[in-house]
Symmetry: D2
Subunit: 364 residues, 4 copies
């Protein structure tokens, strides 16, 4: 259990920023799912560097290769392995980081944990590791669309102090992808663009919030106690580099309401199942999906790598100054969107599969 994610739809990633390759093994994908490298590449292209001026200019095509688990265009049910070769391994650009710790990076903590550190581009802590997750998430996306018409969508809802106004019930992928910020509120997106460009030119960086929804999720997914679906989503999201917070439904804001205003009243639904008049629960009650849309938010801190001068220490504990070079994102939010989607897809696919083994006896 050292390095896997998920119980039935289970993945394991490998690779460092400046090693030969990054990739993923995915176990538990049901057999006979039609899947192509093109479908996977589509999500990877949304995550890849260099796609706009707002993100890192590292040159990577991030071309996926399926190594196993697909035969004649369909999954075989056995280990599905995928890999991307690292192309732009200009590791010399990191020589100035070898003997010091970048503030608020994983440099020091990796050194403290392992006693050894691959200093090139963050090594294993690099966001390049998420390529494997996004590839596996694309498989989950196809599975969930096939079996249950489930759709997962994320977008940038806040950058620094700029809050967007978005109708989470109606927003579409096309609207999200219409702007490089991945904020589907055009007015806010324009202000975010300006703010990000200004931060870059100032040698500074910005954080923000990604909101995600999962639509058409049937009621009943999730386990009581230790595998609540919102707990698994919380873990999934905090596993993304730079994530510092998670909330489901009303979240922290809901703590300022009272039971009378916060509870979601049930109303009779058209198909014999109850519906909820509001969705402060965010689609989850008692850790199990209610049939309402799942909605959650993920907080991302400002990028730790900035080109302005900062105080830090050398690996032999001497005070020094750092002005980071290399290519980095002044704001991770636009590229975080497909990663948040991938993590949500992986969690929901896992729980959807779990439910297949729960619901095997005749109804009372």
């Amino acid at each position: 259990m050292t390095g896997t994610f998920g119980q039935l739809f289970q993945l394991s990633t490998f690779g460092e920023s400046h090693g030969p390759a990054v990739g993923v093994i995915l176990h538990g994908c049901p057999p006979r799912l039609a899947i192509s490298e093109e479908e996977i590449q589509r999500d990877l292209d949304r995550r890849r560097p260099g796609q706009s001026k707002l993100v890192t200019q590292r040159k990577e095509s991030d071309t996926i290769e399926i190594l196993s688990g697909v035969f004649e265009g369909q999954t075989t049910g056995t280990a599905l392995a995928m890999m991307v070769r690292n192309a732009d391994q200009n590791s010399g650009a990191y020589d100035h980081l070898k003997d010091l710790y970048r503030p608020s990076h994983a440099d020091w903590t990796y050194r403290a944990k392992y006693g050894i550190r691959d200093h090139r581009g963050g090594g294993r802590a690099s966001v390049r590791e998420t390529i494997g997750r996004v590839a596996a998430g694309a498989v989950a996306r196809k599975l969930l669309a096939t079996v249950a018409d489930i759709e997962v969508l994320a977008w940038v809802s806040q950058v620094n102090t700029i809050d967007a106004t978005i109708d989470s019930d109606t927003v579409t992928l096309e609207q999200v992808e219409a702007d490089p910020t991945r904020c589907p509120d055009p007015e806010a997106a324009a202000r975010m663009t300006t703010a990000i460009e200004k931060a870059r030119s100032n040698g500074d960086s910005l954080g923000g919030v990604v909101t995600f929804v999962a639509r058409n999720v049937p009621a009943g997914l999730g386990e009581p106690v230790f595998y609540k679906i919102d707990a698994d989503l919380a873990k999934a999201m905090l596993c993304i580099p730079a994530a510092k917070g998670f909330e489901i439904g009303s979240g922290f804001a809901g703590t300022r309401l009272t039971g009378l205003t916060h509870n979601d009243p049930f109303v009779p639904g058209p198909d014999g199942q109850p519906e909820m008049a509001t969705n402060n629960s965010g689609g989850v009650q008692g850790g199990i999906t209610s049939g309402s849309t799942i909605i959650g938010r993920v907080a991302f801190k400002p990028t730790a790598t900035i080109s302005s001068e900062q105080d830090t220490v050398t690996t032999d504990n001497k005070a020094t100054k750092l002005s980071a070079k290399g290519r980095h994102d002044p704001c991770v939010l636009p590229r975080a969107v497909p990663i948040v989607e991938a993590m949500a897809l992986l969690v929901i696919a896992d729980h959807w599969l779990r439910q297949q083994q729960t619901d095997v006896l005749p109804q009372l």
Copy 2:
């Protein structure tokens, strides 16, 4: 993996609100740890109903019995089982809930998932399930104090719109326990008490925030990628009934800072290791502890059970009204404090044990 928590310090709980008993099996506690039922009872007494006017008046002494794994006052290293008999099984009080779903409870979602529901007191979704966690957490507390002088402390930092002012570096257990609210800001505590009593008399309920710290945690605990210690804490906290959000360090507020103001500058530490001048990271960088105090916050929604009349539906999908009877907490925050501590203790104990198998080869 259906029902366990933790990888090396691993527990599994059982029991329903109105069944014969609730309890826990704990695997992986190292042998030769001195532990007594009294030490475990101490934490359970902080969680138990009826301890003040602010919480549910259900009559339970919650007396722990160790069933296995302790021999002559020390752990044996094998399965440690503990149990509490349910005393106040007045399940007749729940008959009026049998044929309807309580809003924002797990009634409907359990029915959707399992096709069967123990309606008495929430069944498995009851907060009584956390007794096993708090008992296991007390063992973790003893272990961490013994091996590493680690201390975990939580308190109520917000109830509804009342925000407390607390110095997280200096606050003590005695200060937390000094007031039934478990808010160590006396002025805020007084206002919280008034607000909770008013909510109860109004048939309403309140939510809020619990803050926790873990002090003296060595640098290096946590795993990259999928077992980041903050991701495991997020999952742990969202596994608590009524929790709706989690943040580590600066969390959501930190998204409004910039890299320059958010990064924690390193300064040379006295023992040859770096220290951080600030702690926006909350003690975790790249998913691994930095040596700074871990600090996090957990959002709890207002209690779903309220005695005011609410709209809901019957199990055969007809509109109805509900005015809940039975004994419930008008505000779960005071009793959530020891549960938050337990979950943090369980996560840290797990990662501390993991690190023992990481750090086995000579330093370079």
Copy 3:
């Protein structure tokens, strides 16, 4: 993962020979399975001490109590906990074992591992631990009978040098239970009885072999590579105290055949699926069930506890002599039969549930 068995039908046991109780938590049993304490007690009664002169005379009724997970006679889908109180805790009978190690027992190895040892009746290494497994196995038996008409049956096929002749295709539970040896070959059973009684009176003990079958198991259960169903059965059986060997199908004897005589030819089956003319595979090919009956064999060593004098050492490494007192089985085989069945049932239930999540997409 320190102490659980199974992935989806997952259990965890607790308890020592002379502690307050032994028991089990079972996660993953599907909801709405009708189950009663009587059905579980039936299997426990076949495992219990004192049932005949051939086994230990420890006085235990081994009465099961369901603590959670069953509501109004049906499983709820949540944690199913069961417990048996230890009645005959005459631990004084073990005082003479406190300061020495019994040969071929777990006394020394537990001391080496844990640095602490509950010497009373073997502590956690006692076969009383298997009560929880047999109870969980009874639930698996009910599940598999309900969903797939699967039947698991075991019997004693060898005691010491006495080999029984049994038709594994036709033997029934009634035939197995007809004799206290649980050997359904009456002639061999009579000789086994004599041999066991003679061993007891000689202060000696006997080993032997238990054979088990699983009938009506559908083709397709088991996973390639690391969760082959025969590999999981091997592990399950070696987890039984005193087990020293496992074989599936032709096993060790099959190594002396050649491919031409060992391969199982396919023949067209009546329902459009292939059948096999022979069953050297033991119902498993490539780790996955073939549709033929699963058949395997488990080797049990002679009981380590004997009343004859043996050489051993004290805990401070001095040579000494031991003549073991206390109540023990001169031959574990008759009581091993329900335990072997339980372990097979647990493995098959786990894999049956796994297959529900594999087979979710339309057939090609």
Copy 4:
């Protein structure tokens, strides 16, 4: 848990016989272990096809590439990924197998499980999958030699009816590698060679037994109940293609002894710890290592693929005949030796790491 092996030293393999590549991800290898591709290649070369006339002549150099987890010649502690490209993908040789099931292969069972089958060379069921295990085993070998001077060695002790005579206490790797059969009894090896060559020319195949030892394993490795080290070894060995049986120590033969002759008497050891005068236990008592050499045996059936004509059925359930073409091993035993070693190494490394988290408190 669908596709991983081990708890702390945990691997996951991928790849099919005729896909692009086979490989492995290994989690949990401690950081700062010096390891090179050459050390890993050494074990792979013992496993690879074409190394002698006794094995398959498929042309594969099986050249390992480390993809991640090693930096400047040392492990980083993070995911260690390794891959071998398949070179000899002459999948046309398998066209005649597309529409039928090979007897005693996994063809039918994969079809029954997955509803789809990669018929080329056995697909995922191919023994090429074990490349990843042998590569990970080589890392375990280096770890165990480094931390504890543990040595694992296996050899062929039986082929068909030819039994070798070998002193398991003194046999060396050089003696095993001296003959292509990997049987270190030269007289038996010569007879085995003749028998294997005769079987090949007859279109037949042979099975046999591999014996393995693990020397210098400290007392105390293994867990009670469900992670007994011999149970984990049993599972590990039955996970090897064609394995049909496992025994530890005296195994099945020991069932014919009595307690008096089978028990291993303790004698005072020179270092204050007990030693055993005999080793019927095979180095394991109660599932935990005793300090004696671990010794076990694995039964391998005759290779299922033979070129003689056999009865079988087509995928549409018609009777047919098969004379298998393609390159296959007339006897898998010589190539099974490094695989058995790898599986033993993986299990022992896992338990050695586990023990580091058990033994953390001061001795009494």
